[in-house]
Symmetry: C2
Subunit: 480 residues, 2 copies
């Protein structure tokens, strides 16, 4: 693999400077200008940033991620999908058989200690197929599985391109019927809805590989040109009709056929299909059935037929679909999937199992949710503790431990200040930073009296409360 | 890295055989005898098993893992720890600086597309240190962070050795006081307790690196022999006094000093420390303070002083501790950690931040919980859906979609059968497999009447229920 020149928008990194306070600031900032420093650091220091195209999740970002993942899990479980997981490391062979050159060139592959070629998974479907094969007879079909794996691709760094992302994967194996695709799409819409997105925000564009193939054949496009034509059609929404026509001509498609392909690619509803295929062609009937089922699920406003949807990966064999944010120009899929009935024989199995599924990445999803201000502030700034117990001096640490244990026994998140207690201000700042509603101060005289001092940070009020009343104490009761 | 011969206990793997039923069995089994087949497959097929030393998580195993992780999250959050995460891939340099040779030889290292040396993380602490450095001044101390990362080591395959495991990491940065260690230990005990483990099952052995160093100096052991002596002491509980003596003699420790080291290594309570160090030595006072705090947290029955605890990693600088299952012979730590105040200067920083933390792996933990039958059956076999809707023929798919949507809108997990509906038995078996309590059958005549047929699988009863009553329908009401 050749060296790739990296272009990256880098945020300022920090170097360390001398400072002695334990609970306060430690560092000041300078700029890291060189990509290599993300790996090797500088001046004898390690590199501070995660490697290019990857992310650290500090608590606020982790809260956001946990919120998104919990919404994903909720929708998947509500629809009867069961969670699974597989190792992030797989034999390289698993990907060589399927994805074609494009994927293997972008993979994180290496040789392990036993000389075997392994790879960080670029996607989840091959692992699921491997697992299904491995379970053999013990796995009775149909199955509905989901997972939220992290997937890795070695990509050149441009804006928005990442080397890792998390991806919700929903798959149904063992169902030939279009009802499986409908379940997937309905579940995807349930997720969008639960995240606050409506059909004014999102459109799911649907097509069928078999329809594309049927039309290529009926237009007399030679078999060996199909995939090149598909690649051109795939760009329709991004580059427009004229540029697609040039691409088709370059491939060797006649002007007349190109016109037909363009006219077909412009189709955005099923009715128009009738003039190309007839209204009773089984592929037309099937896709109309899918639209009917989607309306029974109440998600018809989310979907449209789109003849220019192709999806790059070679294993799709029937229905294909992609979800887009309607207001994004140029359009970029935030989710994609379809039917892949032939994957097991591609892996050398004697028989196939019908299957369909989709993947929905976290990066684009969060970008859209943030833009539309749909990630609740309360999620990002979720308090780490409701109460923080502060001993007024080191000899009261044991008493603080007793009080915080009392609170935790109630099941609520409570913390005890572990910094130096010589400055109350630092402890109060800590309580404020973790979002605590109140601090409970252990003071020598009050403790001797069997009491603690409860200070409400936002209300700026404080009360002396007897220890046995602490659990039930509510300052609002006093006002009544 | 030299090739390593692998010894592995292998479970039978399966090859594919011809079979045509879509919703039934697909495969029969043969044995894979060769490790290489875990990577390369055979007869043109891909390998079915995950690579050696790694795990697939099918839904039952995933339920178990999710249960364990949710208990971990619950305890950590109750104690005010905030979750974070970092990429599984880090610069190799991050580990070379710290872990010493042992770790880097066992790492999954490789060169990425830009020629940089990267590694799958073998442990979490270096990444946390990198992140803390990267945040610089914006991260105000103290912080209490937790994470449940997957960590990778390339190990020779023996029973119980794995190449990946998940590890709960709890860390407190910015506190010099022993109260930080007490918080960590109390949180660990909270987790054990919430999992059903008591102090009859688990012991947390505590020691201090500085005590070990003080005694080495007082016995006149030369500085350059300290680490070799520590390695010998570390084996005390596994190989016994005689063999440790031989090891010490091999290193060049005199018979007399060896005796003293052995006698010291046998200490299992703090009082005995007094005769070696005096009762008012600051290190003795500190560890007594730790034991006092633990009793304030109510976890004193879990802990013991153990002078033979060393912990291999070179970055520990003070308190060290390990948790063991009391009934395991030979003992194997299921959790370990301690204070590592000097990690930032080891990475080239101008100043350190006091820090302590521990890691607790999922593999040993689950092994113990399974042995003690503490993983609830209801967790492993958690139903994927409460109800399964079954259309009696293909033309009722839309009606089935409406009914299942109705149920899901209530927030309960409900499924619709997506297999072929020509055999009711297959659909009922499916409902049974996913643990459903009832099936809701959409039948042509009843549907025309505005009704569905609700069949309770365990009770073997069925009822015709009007659609508008379905949500509130409860067969127990009929008996009253």
């Amino acid at each position: 693999m050749s060296r790739i020149i990296l272009h990256r928008i880098t945020s300022p990194s920090r170097f360390l400077q001398s400072n002695t306070t334990c609970t306060q600031r430690y560092f000041s900032c300078t700029q890291l200008k060189n990509e290599e420093h993300r790996y090797k650091g500088r001046n004898g220091m390690i590199a501070f940033d995660p490697i290019a195209g990857t992310r650290d999740f500090l608590p606020k970002q982790m809260n956001e991620r946990n919120w998104l993942f919990s919404k994903m899990r909720e929708s998947a479980r509500k629809f009867g999908f069961q969670e699974y997981d597989v190792p992030i490391l797989e034999p390289e062979d698993l990907y060589k058989r399927k994805g074609g050159e494009e994927i293997s060139q972008q993979m994180y592959c290496f040789e392990d200690g036993s000389g075997q070629r392994v790879s960080l998974r670029p996607e989840m479907t091959p692992s699921l197929a491997r697992m299904v094969l491995g379970q053999g007879a013990s796995l009775i079909m149909p199955i509905k599985y989901f997972s939220i794996p992290q997937c890795w691709r070695y990509e050149t760094m441009t804006k928005g391109r990442r080397r890792e992302h998390y991806q919700l994967n929903l798959d149904i194996w063992g169902s030939k019927g279009i009802c499986a695709e409908a379940e997937l799409i309905a579940c995807m819409c349930d997720l969008f809805t639960s995240l606050g997105l409506t059909s004014s925000d999102i459109v799911i564009s649907i097509n069928n590989r078999k329809i594309l193939q049927y039309l290529m054949n009926s237009m007399g496009v030679p078999e060996q040109l199909h995939s090149s034509v598909f690649i051109a059609i795939d760009k329709f929404d991004k580059i427009g009709a004229d540029e697609v026509t040039s691409l088709l001509n370059e491939i060797g498609i006649s002007q007349e056929t190109s016109k037909k392909i363009i006219s077909f690619s412009e189709i955005r509803n099923i009715k128009e299909l009738h003039s190309h295929m007839g209204s009773d062609h089984e592929l037309v009937v099937e896709i109309e059935n899918l639209f009917h089922l989607c309306s029974c699920y109440g998600v018809e406003s989310f979907i449209e037929f789109n003849a220019s949807i192709v999806r790059g990966l070679s294993y799709y064999s029937g229905t294909i679909f992609e979800a887009y944010a309607r207001d994004r120009v140029p359009p970029r899929a935030l989710c994609g999937g379809g039917r892949y009935d032939n994957i097991l024989t591609m892996y050398g199995a004697a028989n196939d199992i019908p299957a369909c599924g989709f993947g929905l990445g976290d990066v684009m999803m969060l970008e859209i949710l943030r833009e539309k201000k749909l990630v609740p502030e309360s999620v990002i700034n979720e308090p780490a503790a409701k109460s923080v117990v502060i001993p007024m001096n080191e000899s009261l640490r044991g008493e603080a431990a007793q009080v915080v244990t009392l609170l935790r026994k109630q099941g609520t998140a409570a913390d005890v200040y572990v910094g130096r207690v010589n400055k109350l201000k630092n402890a109060l700042n800590f309580a404020d930073r973790v979002g605590a509603e109140r601090v409970i101060m252990i003071m020598p005289d009050e403790w001797a009296n069997g009491s603690v001092v409860v200070k409400y940070l936002r209300r700026k009020e404080q009360f002396e409360v007897r220890l046995q009343d602490l659990i039930t104490f509510d300052p609002n009761d006093l006002e009544k």
